[in-house]
Amino acid sequence: MTNNVAERLLGYDDEVFGVEHYQSDVLPRWCSGCGDNAILTAIQRLCRDEKLLPEKTMFVSGIGCSSRLPHYMNAYGFHGIHGRSLPVAEGIKMARPDLNVFVTTGDGDCCSIGAGHWIHAIRYNIDMTVLMHDNGIYGLTKKQVSPTSPQGLKTNTTPRGSYLPPLNPLSTTLGVANVSFVAQAVDWIPETLYDIISAAFHHNGFSFVRILQRCPEFMPDMFDPWVQDPQQMLLLEHVNGLHLSPELGKVYTNQEAHDPADINRAREIASLTEIIPVGVLYRNEEIPRYDDIRRPRGVYTNEKIRAGIEEELDKYTI
């Protein structure tokens, strides 16, 4: 690969991008059968199809199984501290609007220790793609209850069953002012997983995708009723949302034509408990973006900066 940036960009159109282009030399260390592998594959396919320059692509994560994902990408990665991936990603995007910013987080990282940041990140609506891997359990620390664990779940910290009904990440997200994109995907339908991540990537603003993800180690049966019975799934199809292939449509016949502009229906769909909806629940490209509003306009040459400093010093000069 050439070291000359201009030459590199000139050759960009001719360059062939394969999935392997985005695979790092670190082999994924997730458990076999872990849903995170499907998410990783979908992301690598997306990078290939969008021909994203690895050096301009940024994966930010916190702590947890999901947050190992940046290590497996050939891109810039930031594997930070528990719960803080969103404010780190906000700082990156504000400093560098030229970067494609992805955040991979989990139900503990996002909905528990990082919940405060999550709420505010939705409201800031900074342009980034957030993938929340939701397996309903703390995996890396070995089976403790998470905010999205089903009520009654026996874990190492709730040996007689968890006490409270789970938090609903979709309803929560849809309840925050300035929300602009909410979708749900499942790891066991790779085609829609890819399509939804792709829609999220193309969204202008903060796109939040909750991905139901199986943890074979600690929650082996959690999603069995839905995996085994496609009728328990509700696929949201719309010209402005998810498109189902004819093959997939034959398997998942329980469908709804849902316009992602309809936030009221989106909230109803989000609150379904027995049925798992898959697709784009809400999308609004017109929502103001904090990064866009706050972005300094104009070119700040040293002369201009100096003039600004002198002007302020003048104010205090006696």
Binding site: M1, T2, N3, N4, V5, R8, S24, L53, P54, E55, K56, M58, F59, V60, P70, H71, M73, N74, A75, Y76, G77, F78, H79, G80, I81, R84, L86, P87, V88, A89, E90, G91, I92, K93, M94, A95, R96, D98, L99, G116, H117, I119, H120, R294, P296, G298, Y300, N302, K304, I305, R306, G308, I309, E310, E311, E312, L313, Y316, T317, I318
Partner: protein, 630 residues
């Protein structure tokens, strides 16, 4: 229009020249009122006028923690102390020489706090004597008579009555009347007063400016006609341009000049005013202030921006600093340059939000779990607040380290004239490096001697790697290898030593050798050096050293200490008193810097510290030196 007003004011001042003018070398003035009556603005304005006349000044804010504390209450006292001198002033001095009080309760609060010189002149609003509430009138009269009995020279002033001749509501504007009185008492040019009023209300209408100028003139004329006191503090105007700012404004100007363009913060006293100002003007240099949802987010945001190539600053105070610790550790581990400002206040916990303390030094040096080496420097005066931001950004980016800058509530609100900084291109940050990374280069290619490594900022072709808070090797790969882990810790530590090699030994104030050496840091510098000057004038052989860098510390301190019989560390953080019945050498706790100096140099350095929530007075340090050298 202003000139006409000036002319008439001069004419209206009867008997002005008849009064004898007493020349003073310096005076300390306090103006105190209920919160919201404008004593702070009055004090700041008086200080600015004096500074513009060429006087040395230092101001100390007297500030309640609440926005609207009860009226006429001791805890609600708000105001300003202004030390005015013929010479440069570096601290708030000892007890006040003249007090202007808007009611007797706020006056009492200052007397109870031992801030007022016995027998000094007190100008007291007299409206309370005839207050419709008999209780208030009685309390006022009783207090006034008691203080007169104690020897205070109380002059009752009909401030309210006089103001009402010009405005319908005296609550807003009495402070300008008082400002006018002060201009007369201290023989300051009233035209400078008018200009100051115009500056204060620059964003308001002409009518408001005019109304306040009328009050200013009224106060001036009233004092000229009715007061016997008339002072002059001779001033020599400096030839080089000066600016008058408080520490937080100086800090903001420093950020503006430092090349940093992102400040992430969360509101907290007493740091916030720095961000207020920055929010207003940062866009002039392409910068932005992000008010995050909490302190942790503010720090994480700064970490993200810094990582992405724009070195950022996060500004906070004690509790916020505690909350940022984990994110600071992440920046240390990832070797991300970042500037963290801690405007210290009284602690622990919520402590004393508006009061000064220097209790965060050890937290700054050793905070965040594990071995988290970071640079810690402290501003000792207003000028330092400005330049420390520029230095901090440069050090952060040179060493890929977190640089913590400590200031405190004393510096935050203290005003002082300082030489106007002269712009240098070197202040500004270089553009974000987007060049391709050389083949086979490693993201943490630590230099074995200095620990330094180049940085792969996102966007640099072929530099792709994942930065991680986990232990990692030179390739930024997560490792569990004991040897590599230890080597990485060593490299991050070495950077402090590499920086230390560039530091000059601290200068000694006073004589190079002697009987007693004081070591200080931060905002106590002015008071310490004034005390040293005083005791040296008395013939004592005492000197002082003030540390700008607390971590790493410059070489040379050991040799300096060796030239003195005794070493006393002076600071505003807690130390146990050996006189206490259960304190002995096995359990005595030392003040912050004393721990550091004793630990590093194995010297039996003593400490003198106070945590009264107010700046240490030169007189108190002076007495301590006399005691120790007896």
């Amino acid at each position: 229009m202003l000139e006409t007003a000036a002319d008439s004011a001069e004419k209206k001042a009867p008997g002005k020249s008849a009064k004898p003018i007493v020349k003073l070398a310096e005076h300390i003035v306090e103006i105190v009122s209920d919160s919201g009556e404008g004593a702070q603005r009055c004090g700041q304005s008086f200080a600015t006028i004096a500074a513009r006349s060429g006087n040395g000044i230092w101001t100390v804010e007297i500030i309640p923690a609440e926005i609207q504390p009860p009226a006429r209450s001791i805890e609600g006292t708000s105001g300003n102390r202004i030390r005015v001198s013929s010479n440069t002033v570096t601290n708030g001095g000892d007890e006040a020489d003249l007090v202007i009080a808007f009611n007797e309760q706020v006056l009492l609060s200052r007397i109870n706090a031992n801030e007022i010189k016995p027998g000094c002149i007190i100008l007291l609003e007299d409206k309370w004597a005839t207050h419709p509430d008999a209780n208030i009138a009685a309390v006022y009269t009783e207090t006034r008579d008691r203080l007169l009995g104690d020897g205070y020279n109380i002059l009752e002033i009909p401030m309210e009555v006089e103001c009402l001749k010009h405005v319908p509501d005296a609550k807003r504007g009495k402070n300008m009347f008082v400002l006018g009185m002060l201009c007369s008492i201290y023989s300051l040019d009233l035209e400078l007063g008018r200009q100051q009023v115009a500056r204060i209300f620059a964003k308001k209408s002409d009518a408001i400016i005019k109304a306040n100028q009328i009050l200013l003139e009224a106060g001036h004329d009233w004092a000229a006609a009715n007061l016997e006191i008339k002072y002059q503090i001779p001033a020599v105007k400096k030839s080089d341009p000066q600016i008058v700012v408080n520490g937080n404004t100086a800090l903001s100007l420093g950020v503006l000049a430092s090349g940093m363009q992102i400040c992430a913060m969360y509101p907290i006293t007493p740091a916030t005013s720095a961000s207020h100002y920055l929010s207003d003007v940062f866009n002039k240099v392409g910068g932005l202030v992000h008010q995050a949802e909490d302190e942790i987010a503010a720090c994480a945001f700064a970490v993200g921006a810094s990582y992405a190539g724009k070195c950022a600053v996060t500004i906070t105070s004690g509790p916020g600093y505690s909350l940022k610790q984990e994110a600071i550790g992440l920046a240390v581990m990832g070797e991300i340059p970042m500037v963290v400002v801690n405007v210290q206040r009284g602690g622990p916990s919520t402590g004393q939000p508006t009061k000064v303390e220097q209790g965060d030094l050890l937290t700054a040096c050793f905070g965040s779990h594990g071995d988290a080496p970071k640079v810690v420097m402290a501003a000792a005066n207003i000028e330092d607040c400005f330049y420390s931001m520029i230095t901090a950004r440069q050090l952060a980016e040179t060493f890929n380290m977190v640089v913590v800058v400590l200031t405190d509530a004393n510096l935050a609100t203290a005003q002082q004239p300082i030489p106007r900084p002269e712009f240098s291109e070197e202040w500004l940050a270089p553009p974000v490096d987007q060049s391709a990374v050389p083949k086979d280069a490693k993201p943490y290619d630590w230099d074995p001697k200095t620990g330094l490594a180049p940085r792969f900022v996102p966007g640099r072709p072929d530099g792709m790697h994942t930065l991680t808070g986990l232990a990692h090797d030179q390739n930024s790969k997560v490792i569990y290898d004991p040897e590599i882990n230890e080597q990485a810790i060593e490299k991050r530590s070495l950077k402090l030593a590499a920086l230390q090699k560039t530091l000059k030994p601290p200068p000694v104030f006073g004589g190079d050798q002697g009987d007693l050496l004081i070591i200080g840091w931060g905002s106590t510098k002015g008071a310490i050096e004034e005390a040293i000057e005083r005791v040296r004038a008395d013939g004592l052989k005492a000197s002082s050293v003030h540390l700008q860098f607390l971590q790493p510390m410059a070489s040379g301190l050991k040799e300096i200490m060796g030239r003195f019989d005794k070493v006393v560390i002076v600071e505003n953080s807690w130390s146990d008193d050996l006189e206490h019945e259960i304190i002995d050498e096995n359990n005595q706790r030392f003040s912050n810097l004393a721990w550091l100096i004793r630990g590093r140099y194995l010297v039996d350095a003593d400490c003198w510290s106070e945590v009264k929530g107010r700046p240490s007075k030169p007189g108190a340090i002076e007495r301590m030196i006399h005691d120790r050298l007896q």
